[in-house]
Amino acid sequence: MNLKNDHYTVFKASKHKKCDFIFLSILLATCVTLTGCGSSETNVVAGNKSGTLYWGNGTEPQSLDPQIATGVPEHHVISAVMEGLVLKDRKTLEPRPGVAKTWDISNDGRVYTFYLRENAKWSNGDAHTAHDYVWSWWRALQTTLGNQYAYMLFPIKNAKRYYDGETSDFSDVGVKAIDNRTLQVTLTNPTPYFLQLLDHYSLFPVHQATIEKFGRADERGTRWSYEGNLVGNGPYKLEEWKINRHITVTKNPYYWDEANVSINSIVFKPVDNAVTEERMFRAGALHVTSSIPADKIAIYQEKSAPELKITPYLGTYFYRLNINTPQLQDKRVRRALGMAIDRKQLVDNITKGGQIPAYTMTPPGTMGYFPESTLNFDPEAAKRLLAEAGYPNGEGFPPIEILYNTNEGHRKIAVALQEMWKNYLNIDIKLLNQEWKVYLATESAGDYQISRGGWIGDYVDPNNFLDMFLCNGGNNRTGWCNEEYDRLILEVAPSQSSHEQRLKIFQQAETILLEDMPIIPVYTYTSIKLLHPSVRNFDDNILNQAMYKDLYLDANL
């Protein structure tokens, strides 16, 4: 058959009511042909053989400069390519030696001396010394850098004064390199959580020569932390960074503990849509997801799927009460609102992600802190309090408004609270949702009555949750100010000699906070993710933090 006839045949066929099916058949045939390649081996199967971990990493990281970055996706990548003086135990989160092999703490708890490893090196082979820390922390405290985590260094003597410009001499700041291998850090007060801070990326060392090669040390937006440029000191080195596609890190041959790093490379995939991410997981494209759509949790739970991991998380979901609102100025009203929430019902029927009802701001178990609470679910007592405040059975109570950022989950919770407060207190609540940045501006300006809030701990210590509500705390935003509370947090707690004593002081402060109730704790967060069974040693911990060098992939799964 010649070409002309062939064409003619096709066209004739179209005339016989088949034309539209032909293309579909061709398309289907193409699909079938391509399937051979497409489904031969999933990322997970191939990765388990080659030692490559595929990690769902939420959004595209905005920066890998540890002194500029903020956010969880950034943290995941940075902690693969950089390392601090100490690491954390993958289960207990206790400090473990990192770049520092050992350390001494003076009797008064103020002077830390770190002894760095002889074999600590940068990923380009350069020697890694104590001077790197002095320089890096100097950089971290430059205001022009715009480091949002500069306050993590404030426990160090004179760090805050230097940052605030009260002294311009960095040698006043309590960090000294005694020699190449010895770093001495002097603190203002004994700070029991100081070792933990060292594992936060804002205190990671950065490579001076690389940074200076690409710009000024205190300049933002230089290209030192990009593909081909970045020099780190972590178990992995940055291999490839394709925007919105993936970040690949591979084993760093100069890492001091290289022999114990099992996984050869990690591919971080930015997947900001939870539904897509869950589908990718099911199709074997990812070993780990960063989240899971709320309505899928029940499906995995019904099957008792081993992939579903729900772990308590160091974070509290709460509501801020603007105490400048006339009807919220009376603390009895605020307490009544706090007592008329059936948190158990909320977490069982609305959030459904294993969240834990919260009756305190600090999640229980934070550094051995199990706060007692004066708050409970007691609608009758709540009604009495509201009546005492002049609103018997809610009569005469002006309607108030709950502000939340646009999100289905937040809306459901706000609706549930609206109903509970109507049922138990007979008061009217209106709901107002705003887009994220608008909501932030409204809340910061104090232009709200009740507002949804959430706080995820930066380090495991009650201080991180309680110092939010200091009178001039940037995250307070409620208008609440209590001098005794400030004194306990700022003066009494830091001067305690033992951890137990400190916890007692925190308990006193927390009680004040709960009695006055400028915030209503709702639940303690859980981290919810899907984890392929082949990933081993990814233990549950309240920071949902993986210790990459401990992980390994079981090729048999």
């Binding site: 293309f23 959004t59 205001t143 715009g146 990718m280 608008v438 909501y439 995250n475």
Partner: protein, 311 residues
């Protein structure tokens, strides 16, 4: 023709200026800035950041200096992706979005034209009703429904095709292209059917038939050129629409194209990125409209004469 093109290009300048001006002042007046965050950012940090990005200058000054940069083809640094320029982000996303749009266009044209022409050749028969009903469903079905459906069937149940990515695994471009192209295929089917029906009832087609030409020749040689004018007119806006509207498909299939940056930029208040993307996409829309108009003129002798007559 050249004069026509030149005139249109000159018209585009005030249009673009209006787009830049409106976008610039709209985004700067939106509540919340690029550096606001859940955890309070200390005022000294905000000050340092605003200085670095010249946000401490009066708004008019910012506007004028931004216009100057745009004229030089520099969209500035992204506020959110520290160290990246807007030009760089556009350059990273554009080839992918353009490729996706191109494949989607092929899908749309092949399915749309076959269905539309087939329907027009035998109007009011099953060959007309079935594809046209399908086209109606195609127009109505949003890509955020079609995409996950295709993924569910071909990706997860049948395991034939990858569910995400772009150029990572062979075959991962098929589902996104079909998802994005389907809606446009439906439009093209309806447009080509309408265009062909009109042309097929013209006198010159009757003449061709009277001359005894085969139906194939009549359609391919005589009817198509006129019948496809509505489709051609639609192609320009359609391609621009494919480029700028691929956000949903890019999100569903995890494709690192332009659309995702655009939406993230708006949420992040990444002023320079929003502006850069808006200007870039506006320019594309203008260019594609111009191209499709020129193509329509080339195809339609009537229009050509009108332009010549105007001279």
């Amino acid at each position: 023709m050249y004069r026509f093109a030149l005139g249109r290009i000159l018209q585009a300048i005030p249009v673009l200026l209006a787009v830049i001006t409106v976008t610039f002042f709209l985004i700067h007046s939106a509540p919340g800035g690029p550096f606001s965050a859940d955890k309070a950012v200390p005022p000294e940090v905000i000050k340092a950041l605003e200085e670095q990005y010249n946000l401490n200058q009066p708004i008019w000054q910012q506007y004028v200096s931004y216009l100057g940069d745009v004229v030089r083809g520099d969209f500035g640094p992204s506020f959110k992706y520290s160290g990246r320029t807007v030009n760089e982000l556009i350059a990273a996303g554009l080839p992918i979005t353009a490729e996706l749009a191109f494949y989607a266009m092929i899908v749309a044209l092949v399915i749309g034209l076959l269905a539309g022409i087939g329907a027009a050749v035998r109007p009011n028969t099953a060959q007309d009703y079935i594809p046209m009903t399908a086209a109606m469903i195609g127009i109505c079905m949003p890509s955020f429904l079609l995409g996950p459906l295709l993924v569910l069937v071909f990706g997860i149940n049948l395991e034939w095709l990858p569910v995400s990515g772009w150029g990572d695994i062979p075959g991962d471009k098929i589902l996104p292209s079909i998802t994005l192209g389907a809606g446009f295929a439906a439009y093209i089917a309806r447009l080509s059917r309408g265009g062909m029906l009109e042309v097929l009832s013209q006198d010159y087609i009757r003449t061709a038939r009277a001359k005894g030409l085969s139906e194939t020749l009549i359609i391919l040689k005589h009817a198509l050129r006129g019948g496809l004018i509505p489709v051609v007119a639609f192609l320009g806006p359609a391609f621009a629409g494919l480029l700028s509207g691929s956000f949903v498909v890019e999100t569903i299939f995890q494709i690192p194209g332009l659309g995702r940056f655009y939406v993230q930029a708006a949420f992040n208040r990444d002023y320079t990125l929003i502006l850069g993307m808006t200007i870039f996409l506006s320019t594309l829309i203008i260019v594609f409209n111009l191209l499709s108009d020129m193509l329509a003129i080339w195809l339609n002798p009537k229009l050509r004469h009108e332009i010549k007559g105007a001279k």
